[in-house]
């Protein structure tokens, strides 16, 4: 499965948020979208998922435009992990994950035994089997995030879109989610996520897209894109980037910001 985003302009009716976005994504690859608040990350995701109509350009899967696809067809290809939200009614975690099966069952059907088995498998994959019968409204924010990932996996999507999956998580859960992303990519799923933390991009991304003022400022390998220069340009802060040995023997780069002189005002205006 191959996702192509070509010359995309996106935004809301009457208000353009970004334009000229072109990139592609194939199975097994993790692309991390990095950029300041208000840079258009969520709007770009919503446009790719067709929650918003593109203002220009196209989104295609295996060469076929998704413009005319029915919702259930879209949901069998794209899994979406929104930022964890509070539920209104006390569905159990299992029921929430089962909702991921909706696109696979008929419009008037209810989940079958096989669907339940898939939901249970996803709970086990994310190590949250112990939450199965807990009300979704009463678990912690980190547990809710893991539940939403399990729900997206229950969709058995080829492409997984995750909007800041590590935001609002404690350190341990952040690491667990990043580990999951790596394992899911190993299973052949194409993953696109946004984050505020360049270190997370170093940890899990094959490629990084830097979104600034609605345009792709850079796109490429993490060590090419995340540089002291690009972070100063986009965030207006001074950082040092150094390789550090990880506990698992691999090497990771980390960004260490300077807190004193040299910090520019936040969000310098768009280029005129």
């Amino acid at each position: 499965m191959r996702l192509e985003v070509a010359d995309l302009a996106f935004g809301y009716p009457g208000k353009e948020v970004g334009r000229d976005v072109t990139f592609d994504l194939t199975g097994g690859e993790v692309v991390c979208l990095l950029g300041p608040n208000g840079g258009g990350k969520t709007t770009l995701f919503k446009t790719i998922l067709r929650l918003l109509a593109p203002r220009h350009g196209r989104v295609a899967v295996d060469g076929q435009s998704i413009a005319g696809w029915a919702r259930d067809r879209l949901a069998r290809v794209f899994g979406y992990v929104p930022q964890a939200q509070l539920g209104i009614f006390p569905f159990t975690v299992t029921e929430i994950v089962l909702m991921g099966r909706t696109a696979h069952i008929g419009p008037f059907a209810t989940p079958s035994r096989a669907d339940r088995a898939i939901a249970e498998e996803m709970l086990a994959t994310l190590d949250i089997g112990h939450l199965a019968e807990r009300p979704y409204t009463e678990i912690s924010g980190g547990e809710r995030q893991l539940t939403l990932i399990a729900r997206a996996l229950a969709q058995q999507p080829a492409i997984l879109v995750m909007d800041e999956p590590t935001a609002s998580l404690d350190f341990g859960n952040q690491v667990r989610v990043l580990g999951q992303i790596e394992r899911l990519a190993d299973r052949g799923i194409a993953i696109m996520l946004s984050t505020h933390d360049p270190d997370h991009a170093f940890l899990c991304a094959h490629r990084v897209a830097l979104l600034h003022h609605g345009r792709l400022a850079r796109l490429g390998r993490p060590d090419e894109v995340i540089t002291a220069e690009s972070l100063r340009e986009v965030y207006g802060v001074q950082v040092a980037i150094t390789p550090v040995a990880r506990a698992d023997g691999r090497t990771a780069r980390v960004c260490v910001p300077a807190l004193g002189d040299g910090i520019l005002p936040a969000h310098p205006g768009p280029p005129s």
């Binding site: 009716p13 879209l74 929104p82 909706t102 008037f108 409204t137 009463e138």
Partner: protein, 341 residues
């Protein structure tokens, strides 16, 4: 589902079922002409087997002609309003929403008031109530569809409140203009809701609307669960939210308009009963819908029995449901945790 959850659910249904049967028996027994459970059984047996009964003919009239239609109507109307309330609350992701919210009840009330004002017959009054109930929702929905830049749920609820208030002032105007000796009491009586004059014909008249409305609710029982998530989640999980919302609103409105057109406005059931049903069986719509219908039926049978027995004068249902509903609702608010159970 674990064994514990399954048992809890089974217990919930059993409780609701037993409660309904008990309340129906009480409803048939008590009143100005008391009938004991033994006599009730003897009458029913005689009716089924066709054998002559030794009980007085007046008792047979009371049970089959007077209380029978009334109890059956209370079951049908209570179940319908609770079903519609469950659907609206899920669809609008708001546990404070009820069938009144989209202007259904107020539209139907205006229709009936107009019918009484023009001195139309019973069929005309019901027809007009039904038509204006549906029309009110159509207007509310078009306003919501026209203002597409806002959150669709919020716009619908706000439009419902605005249109409802507007229709309410039209009702006030008609009451002001109505003949104070004949029309005004009839209008007031209807606006407060009552089953005292309901007949088997009324009951048969509302059943098609109720059944036609229930079918789409039941068919969408799984998608209704997904609809309780945010709009974007429901869309990305593969639900055509616009189509489901339109279908379910049309179905729930049809049901509500059908029953309101014969019973008058009976508030609170659609708001209150789904909460109790969720407490008993959880939020899954496949269980919530039947549980809410059982409880709604039992509740209206109980309230209607109270309405005709606690005072020499029959008390309007709208008054009683409000007096019972308001404290119960505050209690619910107090015991509910963050999630609505």
């Amino acid at each position: 589902m674990t064994g514990a959850a399954r048992r809890r659910e089974a217990t919930g249904f059993l409780l609701a079922g037993v409660l309904l049967v008990a309340l129906v028996l009480v409803a048939f027994s008590v009143g100005r002409y008391p009938v004991s459970p033994g006599q009730l059984w003897a009458l029913l047996w005689a009716k089924i087997t066709g054998s002559p009964s030794t009980l007085p003919a007046a008792m047979e009239t009371v049970v089959f002609r007077v209380r029978g239609p009334r109890v059956l109507s209370a079951i049908a109307i209570g179940a319908t309003l609770a079903a519609a309330g469950s659907a609206y609350q899920g669809l609008f992701r708001n546990p404070l929403v009820s069938p009144d919210i989209l202007g259904v009840s107020t539209g139907a009330a205006l229709g009936a008031t107009l019918g009484i004002f023009f001195s139309w017959g019973v069929a005309g009054i019901q027809g007009l109530a039904f038509a204006l109930g549906l029309a009110a929702v159509a207007v509310v929905y078009s306003v919501g569809a026209a203002l597409r830049r806002h959150d669709p749920i919020l716009v619908l609820v706000l439009a419902g409140i605005v249109i409802g208030t507007l229709l309410g002032s039209c009702i006030s105007l008609l009451k002001y203009l109505a003949d104070p000796y004949n029309q005004l009491p009839a209008i007031t009586f209807w606006l407060l809701g009552s089953l005292s004059s309901i007949t088997v014909v009324d009951l048969l008249a509302i059943l098609p609307g109720v059944v036609v409305g229930l079918i789409p609710l039941w068919l969408h029982r799984w998608r209704m669960n997904v609809m309780t998530l945010s709009e974007e989640e429901a869309l990305t999980l593969g639900v055509d939210t616009r189509r489901v919302r339109l279908t379910v609103i049309a179905a729930a409105t049809l049901m509500t308009a059908a029953v309101v057109s014969v019973s008058g406005v009976i508030g609170w059931i659609g708001l209150l009963i789904p909460h109790f049903a969720r407490l008993l069986v959880g939020p899954d719509f496949a269980r919530l819908l039947p549980a809410a219908m059982l409880l709604g039926a039992g509740y209206l049978v109980a309230v209607d029995t109270l309405a005709r027995t606690i005072a020499p004068l029959e008390i309007p249902l709208g008054v009683l449901t409000a007096f019972i509903g308001a404290p119960f609702f505050i209690w619910l608010l107090a015991v509910s945790r963050r999630g609505w159970q």
